[in-house]
Every structure is written in C-alpha cells, then in structure tokens.
Symmetry: C2
C-alpha cells in the first residue's frame, strides 16, 4: 500500500506543541513543523504492547532498579533491551488545520439528555443536518460495496440486517474481533426511535447473531457483547458486536447493551422516548454545543 | 514506606508462564519461580505513559524506521533513548496461590440479570454471604479511620454521605482525580434496592458533590461524572466520581450514571427492581458461576 512517500529525516522537523496525550493507553500526539517549508506535521506515537510470543527472549534482558517496598510488594523501575521496547508511530505530513483539530485534546462535557431534550434539541439538529442520508450505507445495500466484509445477511424488510466485519478488524485475529450490525429498515435513527414494534427486529438480531457466531467462530452467547452507542457516530441504527475477552475501547459508559434495551422496551414500550440518556459530548461537536447553550 | 525488602536479583528467578496480558493498556503479568527455593513470584509490568513535561528532551532522541505509507499518512517504528522509555513494575515475592488466581486471566461472561434473576439468584447469594457486613466502612464511619481522605461530610441519617478521595488518588494530580461517595444509610446494598423513596438521597448527593467540586476544584457539573457499578465490588451503596477529562478504566459499560438512575426512578419507581441489568462476570467469581448454572 506504499502509495505515499517516506519522510527524509525527523531532524528536518521541530517540536511545536503537544496536541493530546492519552496516558491510560500510553499514547501521545505531537504537532511538528518542517524547519524549512514551515509546513505542519502530526506525529502520533503509541507504545507497543508487551509481546507475548517472545517473552522468553525479552525477559532475559530485564534489569530492575529498586524504588520501594511494602511487605511482599516491591516497586521497581524496569528497563529491557531496545529491540523489545519499540513504539509505533504514524506521521501525517503535510497536514491541514482540520487534522490539527481532529487530533487536539477536546474538552468533554457530560450532557444529560432527557426525553424532552431529545425532542427540543437533538431531533431538530438531526433534521437540519439531514443525518439520515448515509451514502456509504446505501452503497453497501444497493451497490454491493464491501461485499467481502459481509458475514451474514437477513433480507427481511422489517427484521433483516447485515452482520459485517468492521474495517478495524483484520478478519483473522479472534481476540480483537469487531463486527457491526446494520439493519435493513432505513428509518430508525437511533435507540430513541425504538419501541415495542421493534422487538421482533431486536430479538431477531440477538438470536441470529448468536447462532452465526457459534457456528462460524464457536463463540457462546455469553461470550459475545452487542451494544448501541448513544449518541452514535452516525444516525442509522447499528450495533457493535465484540467478544467479551477484549476490553474494547468502543465499549464505553455510554454504550447500551442489547439485552438491556430489549428489557427496557418490554417494561415500558415508550421507555426510549422518555428516558434520560446521558452522553459525553466533545467541545468541537455542534450537537454538544447546542445542548450546552440550552442548559 | 519501605517496610519490605528488595529482591537480590532478577537472575535468581526463572520464567514460568504468562498469567495475563492487557494489550490495550500495555501491561503484562508474569509468573516466575525462584531457582533455589522454588517459591513463586509475580511480576506485573506496565509501560509508562509518555512524559509530557520532558517532551523537549526525549523528542531529540527519536529515530524512525519506515514501514509503509498511504498518501500523507506514513507508518514508522520508533525508538527513543532508554532513559525515556522506562517501564514500571511490581514484584510480589513470595506469593501464594491466591495471588496467582487474582492475577490470572479469567474468562468473562455476559450475564443478563432480569429483576426475577436478581430475586432468585443474586439476592439469596448476597444473604448467604452476609455481604452487608463491611468492616472497613464501619471503621470509617464509627472509628474515624481514613479521616485524611474525607473531602466533605453530610451526616443526615437519611440523605447524608461522605465524599472521599479514593486510595488510588494521590489527592494532588487533578487529571486522575478519583473520588468515592459512601452513603450514611446502612441498608442499601446496590441500585437494585433503590426506588422513589431514595430520590432525596440521590439528588442531595448530586447537588452537594457538584457544589463541593466547584468550590474546591473549580470543576463545573458537566465536567464531572458520577456513577454506580453493577455488580459493585462491595454491596454497600457507593458512587464513583471522576472528572470527565480522563477516560478512567473504572468507567465501563456496566457503569450506571447517576443522572440516568434518577431519571429511571422518576419514570417508574420500581424500575431497578424490574429492569434487566446485564453485567460482566468472571470465571472464578461465585456469583457469576451461580448465574451460569441457572442459565
């Protein structure tokens, strides 16, 4: 895929500022500038996970420096040989102002969206921005795009759906399997539109996905997690499907589990029209700004 | 705090097996054995986050090795000088079988707990195991333990609570602030016990914690997140409180946000007695095993 070109040398660039840092995942994102052309570059660095296959080799290169201890628990600073302590990075060059905003730290806000707030703030915003018009999904359903990613297809107009490998998954490594369900019906924007008339759709997805993943990957139903995001990234009803074994970063506090969603609708058909669904909004997001202005 | 002793040398130990690996957080946990005594040791290694304060120094030591590129996006392997690429580790020695289980990879299961399942499986389990008897909490309320961690105290018998710094927080670094709320009332095990009679308690916590964090740390209410875990680690009603800025690992898909809990109870007083609350159970956990056997 080498259709781009290698940068000559990192020494041609100087450090401008840190755009963002994610200490929990051990990654950082820096803004650099070409010393000559003054063009900007973004350098995203991630520490590599410990390699479980070469542990027998790298463990021999460990050296420890004592910090302190309490009973049987000792703290040390640890180094291991350079070749086993690599980092991975992406270098974006030349980059635009849009890239800089995308990779910059954004302030986050907790937005408490009541059923009323959805009707008064979120829904009008979605209408104005014509969010139901998702061309890339139409291309999949109508033009046969991404055919090779489709794992299972149910074409029933009411309860049908596509089970697809997410682009983030290599379709091989079971531990980081990441699938998506796109429903056949076109008029459901998010969980906010769901009521008891959609129970056959939701139960069909639950049952058939469980069945297919058992057949194809030998995963039991309690080893799989299916969930919606609220707010979703795009407003065409879809679910995320991952094995429980990996603590996938997309599985957040604002994810709603399919079983719980079915339970809530059975309890109260209009639950999702009335419930308070808090979400985490980002500073540069227009919908978040509208909610902040109304609060 | 050096009440323990430093191990002589890592070379006295040999590698037995990997107990667990968490690639997303770049950590690994190894079982070792003392070559002479045959006693076991556990070595937990975490890669350190990139240091944002010394970036001007370590960026000068970077070297890149080209992997591939697509348009303006290039992938490289990156090394930086040893002193800036450290790891932190905890060495537990000698360790027991209990430590080994605690740090071993455990299979995870998605447990779908309906209101009925709570009454038939979870509640009897909690009763048999006398989970309401939490001595360490009694020590805080009755004997004044951990006084230095208390940030705010409301002693009302019905709506009162303690706001405390969690042990995991150093009480200085704002970015990883982690607080806990322990309620004054002793008879509430978890969200499953909550109904409209507890709205004054929940709203009092919400309002006072927001007020205190604004006064003391200048945090606005939409910059703070308060949540319950379900299942909780211990069955004495408590909340976790963190700033939104950090994507705290305790903020999981099975966390319930305070605002949403208040909303659900207002919608339906007995919501938490009836709702399906899915949780992620671990293989070696007795409660998880009971649910699996009944499924």
């Amino acid at each position: 895929m080498s259709s781009g070109k290698q940068i000559a040398s990192i020494d041609d660039f100087q450090f401008v500022r840190i755009l963002s840092s994610t200490p929990e995942y051990k990654s950082i994102c820096l803004l650099l500038e070409n010393k000559e052309t003054k063009n900007h570059a973004i350098l995203i660095i991630n520490k590599e996970p410990f390699n479980t296959e070469t542990v027998n080799e790298w463990i021999k290169t460990i050296s420890l420096e004592y910090i302190d201890a309490n009973d049987i628990y000792g703290n040390y600073s640890l180094t291991l040989d350079q070749p086993f302590n690599e980092n991975k990075c992406t270098f974006i060059y030349p980059c635009t102002e849009k890239h800089i905003i995308k990779y910059s730290e954004q302030k986050r806000y907790l937005i408490k969206e009541t059923g009323e707030d959805y009707k008064k703030i979120t829904l009008p915003y979605l209408m104005e921005n014509n969010v139901g018009d998702v061309t890339w999904i139409r291309n999949i359903f109508e033009k046969g795009y991404e055919k090779e990613s489709i794992i299972y297809k149910d074409t029933d107009p009411d309860t049908g759906f596509l089970l697809m490998a997410d682009l983030k998954w290599d379709r091989k490594t079971m531990s980081n399997m990441y699938l998506q369900v796109l429903i056949q019906k076109k008029d459901i924007k998010s969980v906010r539109d769901l009521d008891e008339s959609h129970l056959p759709l939701l139960e069909n997805i639950r049952d058939k996905v469980n069945h297919v993943l058992k057949e194809k990957y030998n995963l039991e139903k309690n080893e799989i997690i299916m969930y919606f995001h609220y707010q979703p990234t795009y407003y065409y009803l879809h679910l995320h499907v991952t094995p429980l074994s990996l603590n996938h970063p997309s599985r957040q506090i604002t994810s709603l589990m399919l079983d719980d969603v079915i339970g809530n609708i059975k309890l109260m058909s209009n639950y999702y029209q009335l419930a308070t669904l808090s979400f985490i909004g980002k500073e540069f997001d227009d919908l978040c700004q509208r909610h902040l202005q109304r609060a």
